[in-house]
Amino acid sequence: MADPTRALTARHVGGVYGRSLLAQIRAITEYPADFWVMASAGVMWNVLQFAFLTVLFAAVPDVAGWRYHEMLMLSGLLTVAAGSTALLCDGIWSTGTYVLKGEIDYRITRPAPVVVQVATSHIGMQGFGETAFGLVMVVYGWIGAGLGLAAVPAGLLGVACAVVIECALITMLCAVTFWIKGNNSIFAFVMLDLQHNAMTLPLALFPAAVKIVTMFVLPVAFVNFVPVAVLTGHLGPWWLIGTPLAAVASVLAALGVYRLGLRSYDSSGH
């Protein structure tokens, strides 16, 4: 029998999250110029990544066995995941600033999880452009790579898990600012930098240590590399099982690290 207290808590948390995010969306509709500037900025990375791959593949036929359309899917799925974090939990990037200024204080006193309040304190409008164009890249690559409709369920699972893993890992690394203080969440930035530099390319290019770290330590490979590699036949289908497992592990790790961070939080000026 389900525990009614837990169900109510989950509904409450979901309600707070939804209403906070809705409030952010209503707020951004008040600033149409802001929306268009940020959405255009979000498209920029995709357009230039598209250009990069097109230029590269004009000079080489494949990169470590990966062809043009397969690598488009790799970049596209990463962008969908990264763009979704801007839409779903962009406020988490402000954790470091809130810790420095003591602005976690009053969030602790409110009847909702701090991580939810912080995550929904902003919405990154670049996420609209990133996610939309990322999906275009995935679909274009999908068609070009000759993938059929039969692979759609696996593709949807890959997209859903990619979003969850990305949100969770960024939350976890932003929580590091509870201990290593600073306005900028340097660890989360480094992870995104790593993803944009390395995870848009086949893992076979990199030393074994990189493969181990990106699959089993900080599972960024499960955001885009593993799902696309499975879909395109570069990895066996059983690898897809690892994607939801990585999603669950990432969420648990993120919540755990954030909770530990809150325990060590001592407001500002102490």
Binding site: Q126, G182, I186, N197
Partner: protein, 262 residues
């Protein structure tokens, strides 16, 4: 340089290194993109060459790109952006210091804080990967001058991007867009020599190209001395041009500042 500029630069420098652990990790992590680039291009080039770059030349190209991008991305752009987003810019308007000049001082101070990362990383990369040497002693000197131009160029581009915050609520997306444009059009993601002619034309019409392609071309002798001097002149012209454009845009956007709705 007036004492106030130096003071602002010093404050910015100290602010950057105040959070020592964060600063230390940014130093340690700075070389990641270089290692990724080396892994990719070593596979692609192998024993041959691409776009006129053999493996030795490509290593030098990537290390120069690492040096210039480490400097370019290390300024105090977030501090500038937050002043506008938080409304502190209204207080700046009451101060007897020119806003753009003050931000330039702070930005350069922040860049100076990244010098240890850039110098240590570059030295380690040179020792570890043994890239091609400079084409001549003169090329080495002119490359150093070209790298110095990164300071005003980086400020100019960052200042213009930060001014977007007058019409936006967040800076993160703008930062990603600017950094991506810089990575692509500078030639850091893929050398300009591999791009189609029309795209090379677009890249050469923008200031980003002077962050990687210009110093690397001078260093590797892909341009002669006259060509190198011409590129340095272009860097100087962009430095001045970006400063002037920044001032013009500021004069229009500052009219959007409202204090408590007034």
């Amino acid at each position: 340089m007036a004492s106030v500029d130096l003071a602002l630069a010093t404050i910015s420098f100290k602010r950057k290194i105040a959070y020592k652990t964060t600063w230390l990790f940014s130093v340690l992590f700075g070389g990641w993109s270089l290692l990724a680039g080396l892994a990719v291009w070593s596979t692609l080039i192998g024993d041959g060459e691409l776009g006129g770059y053999d493996w030795q030349a490509m290593k030098a190209y990537l290390i120069i790109g690492f040096l210039t991008s480490t400097l370019a991305w290390a300024g105090s752009d977030w501090e500038m952006a937050n002043r506008i987003l938080d409304g502190l810019v209204a207080i700046d308007l009451t101060k007897p210091v020119d806003f753009q000049r003050a931000r330039a001082g702070e930005y350069i101070g922040g860049m100076v804080a990244s010098l240890p990362a850039a110098a240590l990383g570059t030295a380690a990369a040179v020792l570890a990967f043994r890239p091609a040497g400079p084409d001549s002693a003169l090329a080495a000197v002119l490359t150093a001058v070209s790298v110095l131009f990164i300071f005003p160029l980086a400020f100019g581009i960052n200042y213009l991007s930060v001014l977007n915050c007058f019409v936006t609520q967040r800076y993160l997306g703008i930062q990603w867009a600017r950094d991506t444009m810089l990575a692509f059009f500078s030639g850091m993601m893929v050398p300009l020599a591999l791009m189609p002619v029309w795209l090379q034309g677009v890249a050469w019409a923008l200031p980003f190209v002077h962050f990687t392609t210009t110093p690397a071309s001078i260093y590797l002798g892909r341009v002669d001395t006259a060509g190198a001097l011409g590129l340095l002149a272009a860097q100087a012209a962009w430095s001045v041009g970006l400063w002037v454009v920044g001032r013009l845009i500021w004069s229009q956007l500052v009219k959007k500042v409202t204090v408590h709705g007034g």
